[in-house]
């Protein structure tokens, strides 16, 4: 039985939960994961994942008019001089 490391998953998914919420989610997730393990009953090792019915469609690499800068920025919570404004990304030591 998998024991979910909820803190690790939250870190990966950029989410925070209160301790109480963590317990609730962990319990619900455990139930869902146990249910999903039903798939273990099926043997499908011989299926070659690379030969599945998938293909890549590429179109000709032609330049087209994209969104105008103002339109792209119109929903930004913060913007400055035609750019999205965000907190400092590279921390100084």
């Amino acid at each position: 039985m998998e024991i979910i490391d909820i803190d690790h998953i939250l870190k990966l998914s950029k989410l925070e939960l209160s301790e109480e919420e963590k317990d609730t989610y962990k319990h619900q997730m455990q139930n869902i994961i146990n249910w999903v393990r039903k798939l273990e009953e099926l043997k499908c090792d011989e299926l070659d994942i690379l030969n599945l019915e998938a293909f890549t469609l590429l179109r000709e690499d032609k330049l087209k008019q994209g969104l105008e800068r103002d339109s792209a920025l119109m929903n930004a919570p913060e913007r400055e001089k035609g750019f999205f404004k965000v907190p400092k990304v590279i921390e100084s030591k």
């Binding site: 994961i33 798939l39 099926l42």
Partner: protein, 482 residues
């Protein structure tokens, strides 16, 4: 007869023949919406100003070539509409105004449609009852204590309560067909790739499809003809022309159709099972030959679906980081905190649950046992359907194991809610088209829908059989209590 009671085809004909004007149609809908919307709560946004301006514009141009000239249509609020707020039922997009139209919206407008309003949904289309909307709960017009189904519950409730002639929804695991069946409507989930997903706010990209929800089959055909066809802006769009229904094509008699064996109905409401059997008998009367199909993978469809859908969702929803789409938490000290607080406040419980499940399935050490395994099982499911369609033309499934359930009944137990999708997810996993049509009412006056599934790109077949069944199973939707 009120204008709002007409079908989409009827109102379109009257508009073309100058019997009514677009503004009059809007007036009639407005009266209806004012009367019932407070109870039903189908809409997140109604843009009357936009709609009346558009009606005026159409009247002035007087070029009535469009198939939907002057017809108001409602849109699930996860399909983006230029200059009309689009929320996906989430706080994180509460004030998002799209700068462009989804391809389906462009196509509706090209045919002269008026975009009237944006309908309520489970947040990011994640749910089966519309109770997961961040804004409010939508009620089922047949019984306001019950859910309209989900995730396209707002679209279904609007069409069923005569607030709309027709609407668009989206279907990832049954989100068009299950609400259609709960509300006594026709819901089409087209073949994956038939309708462009450009401008649909993504939940699970390999499963999502846009489709119509209408009061009859002809209206479903009309909307599907308008929105279908190749779109170069969507790399998964099939290289096919717009769908055109061939009225002269007749069903080849006899044709074989597949039904589920009795043991598949364990845990299914007996009224649904008997409706299913009745539909099967009627298909035999129109020249069908019944074949019981082997589908041992049915029990594996739901876990497969929930792993694939949540994995894709965890990836798709990583774009909501507080940088681009309207909402950013106001209190943060650094970039990491901005991400965390924005996503925490912006996303609701079910969306977080699915992001967590998807992140877990894709995480190092679990990827092979969960995500990769689900992808392989999905392939087995697809192969299984390929084999089934070598033997039969179409397959019958119930739309749901039960009719519309009570508001609040399943909301605290996610697994119980997930199980209500048992009969709908398999067609999404196999990328095949599927239609749900209303066939009867339970003794408590709740609609029951039955699904017909066909092989890829065989929508013509689905419509031909649905039109036949509609003649035999028509029930008067006007008896709707609200």
């Amino acid at each position: 007869m009120n204008i709002y009671e007409l079908s989409l085809n009827q109102v379109s004909s009257l508009l073309k023949e100058n019997q009514v004007r677009p503004e009059e149609v809007l007036d009639s809908l407005k009266k209806r919406i004012e009367a019932v919307e407070e109870t039903i709560k189908s809409f997140i946004t109604i843009d009357w100003e936009h709609a009346y301006n558009r009606a005026k514009e159409l009247e002035e141009s007087n070029d009535k070539k469009g198939k939907l000239w002057g017809c108001p249509v409602c849109i699930k609020d996860n399909i983006i509409t230029k200059d009309i707020r689009t929320t996906a039922g989430s706080r994180i997009l509460e004030n998002f105004i799209p700068p462009y139209d989804a391809t389906v919206i462009e196509r509706l407008k090209e045919e002269g449609a008026i975009i009237l309003g944006k309908t309520n949904l489970d947040e990011f289309a994640m749910g089966s009852s519309t109770e997961n909307s961040a804004f409010f709960v939508t009620r089922n017009p047949w019984n306001v204590e019950r859910v309209p189904g989900g995730s396209s519950g707002g679209s279904a409730a609007a069409v069923a309560s005569f607030e709309a002639f027709g609407a668009l929804g989206s279907d990832t695991g049954g989100s068009i067909r299950q609400p259609a069946s709960f509300c006594g409507l026709v819901g089409l989930n087209p073949t994956y790739g038939r309708v462009s997903r450009y401008g649909l706010i993504a939940f699970a990209s390999s499963l999502d499809q846009i489709g119509p929800i209408t009061r009859n089959v002809e209206d479903s055909i009309l909307l599907f003809e308008v929105i279908s066809g190749h779109d170069e802006k969507d790399s998964t769009s099939a290289h096919l022309e717009k769908f055109k229904f061939n009225k002269n094509k007749k069903l080849k008699i006899p044709f074989s159709f597949g039904v589920l064996k009795k043991n598949f109905f364990d845990g299914v409401d007996y009224e649904i099972e008997s409706a299913y059997n009745e539909v099967s008998e009627e298909i035999e009367k129109i020249g069908g030959e019944k074949i019981e199909i082997e589908f041992p993978l049915l029990d594996y469809c739901l876990p497969t679906y929930y792993i694939i859908a949540t994995s894709e969702a965890s990836s798709n929803l990583s774009k909501y980081d507080g940088v681009r789409y309207a909402f950013r938490h106001s209190d943060y000290r650094n970039l990491e905190e901005m991400y965390m607080k924005t996503r925490n406040t912006g996303f609701g419980k079910e969306v977080k649950r699915r992001i967590i499940l998807g992140t877990f399935s894709l995480s190092s050490g679990y990827y092979e046992d969960y995500y990769l395994k689900a992808v392989k099982v999905r392939e087995m499911i697809r192969n299984s359907f390929n084999e089934i369609f070598k033997k039969v033309e179409v397959v019958l499934f119930p739309a749901s194991p039960e009719p519309a359930f009570k508001i609040g009944e399943k909301i605290e137990d996610p697994l119980k809610m997930y199980l209500s999708d048992i009969f709908t997810v398999s067609s999404n996993l196999a990328s095949i088209p599927c239609i749900s049509i209303p066939v009867t009412l339970t003794k408590n006056n709740l609609p029951i829908g039955i699904q017909i599934l066909a092989d890829r790109f065989e929508e013509q077949k689905l419509f031909m059989i649905s039109l036949e069944l509609e003649k035999r199973f028509f029930f008067d939707i006007k008896k709707i209590p609200c």
